[in-house]
């Protein structure tokens, strides 16, 4: 029988280190990606994800299952990410205006053999375009979109993380998707066949 996250966390509280390992396995990838989409820097995202897990570990003795484990986990992650974004913004104000603007440090993944370099570049540009559009959203809207779209969380959970009502969240999400619809209009209007690798002549 698979244990729920809450049961796993209660086992961690009781001193079972293996249960912490299971939670780490389960949430490492979504957490790193959520943080990466928030801070747009892979190294910072990993560092913050480590900090989230470390905080969970430190708080294990005081853990009480008052909410879903993911609500707690992503609440910590959201707070850390927002602090990091704000700190980074202050730091960026101090650096020279000659510095390259808003360069997101995505690790370079080499294209597979079946993909041509121009297609790879096109896909990379599309991904960057999408990430840039998400990054321009106001903080709260960005968190809401990431948790809704990529983490597929339910409204009640996202509302708890963002500390707002469900109806406020629905309005927030609508405004965010409306902004993205306008910003990503060239990609939205583009038929799927035009996407890299799909319209390729054989």
């Amino acid at each position: 029988m698979t244990r729920t996250d809450v049961q796993l966390m209660l086992d961690v509280k009781a001193g079972d280190e293996a249960s912490f390992g299971i939670l780490l396995q389960k949430y490492r990838l979504p957490l790193v990606n959520f943080l990466f989409r928030m801070v747009r820097d892979a190294a910072t995202a990993e560092e913050l994800a480590q900090e989230v897990f470390l905080r969970v570990y430190r708080a294990r003795k005081q853990y009480s299952p008052s909410a879903k484990f993911t609500t707690w986990l992503f609440r910590i992650a959201t707070n850390l990410a927002l602090n990091s974004v704000r700190d980074n913004r202050h730091r960026q104000m101090d650096v020279s205006i000659d510095a390259p603007a808003d360069e997101d440090e995505t690790p370079i993944e080499l294209p597979g053999r079946e993909m041509r370099i121009d297609e790879y570049m096109a896909e990379r540009d599309r991904t960057k375009f999408i990430r840039n559009a998400i990054a321009t959203l106001p903080e709260k809207q960005r968190v809401a979109v990431l948790l809704h779209k990529y983490e597929e969380m339910d409204y009640a959970e996202i509302a708890r993380i963002l500390d707002c009502s469900e109806s406020a969240l629905k309005s927030l999400l609508f405004r965010a998707y409306e902004t993205l619809r306008v910003q990503l209009a060239p990609l939205v209007a583009q038929p799927v066949a035009h996407r890299a690798g799909e319209g390729r002549p054989s």
Binding site: L54, Y57, K170, F174
Partner: protein, 166 residues
């Protein structure tokens, strides 16, 4: 349902998390309103576009680094609970000092209250006597006591008429 209301419920409708009544209302509106219908279609496409972002993979060293950091954490010692928190320690010390100071106060007020207590105890026999207490009202009906001549002259030696007036 108006466009504004549909906007509020559109995301929940598209990801199939709205209630059936809401769904019917939104569907009815979408059939009639081209603007909202177009928006709904573009939202669906937008979500497809957003799925193109593959995200990133955590580095191989992620777990090892975390384990290292956890191992470097200070381990809780069994006697840790004995070490009081600074605020608690300060409050306890303050409370203790206050108790000592109050205990060392001179017992001046106590002696006064003891004298008062003694007076009360002296009259307790009268105060607890039901017969006396219940007949106090009857005493008030008595005519005022006429002072004797000797008392009269003592009380007002200048005016021989005072006191015996009527």
């Amino acid at each position: 349902m108006k466009c504004e209301e549909v906007s509020r419920n559109l995301v929940a409708y598209l990801d199939r998390r709205s209630h059936s009544a809401e769904r019917t209302e939104v569907e009815k509106h979408l059939t009639a309103c081209l603007v909202c219908r177009t928006r709904a279609e573009e939202f669906r496409k937008l979500w497809g576009v957003m799925d193109e972002d593959p995200g990133i993979e955590p580095s191989f060293a992620f777990d090892a680094r975390l384990r290292q950091r956890i191992a470097a954490e200070p381990h809780p010692r069994w006697f840790r609970w004995l070490i009081p928190q600074p605020r608690l320690a300060f409050s306890l010390a303050l409370l203790l000092a206050l108790s000592v100071w109050m205990a060392k106060l001179p017992p001046a007020e106590n002696s006064i209250s003891k004298t008062q207590d003694f007076e009360a105890i002296k009259d307790l026999g009268v105060l607890e006597n039901y017969d006396v207490l219940s007949k106090f009202d009857a005493l008030s009906e008595l005519p005022p006591v006429q002072p004797s001549d000797a008392t009269k002259s003592q009380s007002d030696p200048q005016n021989p008429d005072s006191g015996g007036g009527s």
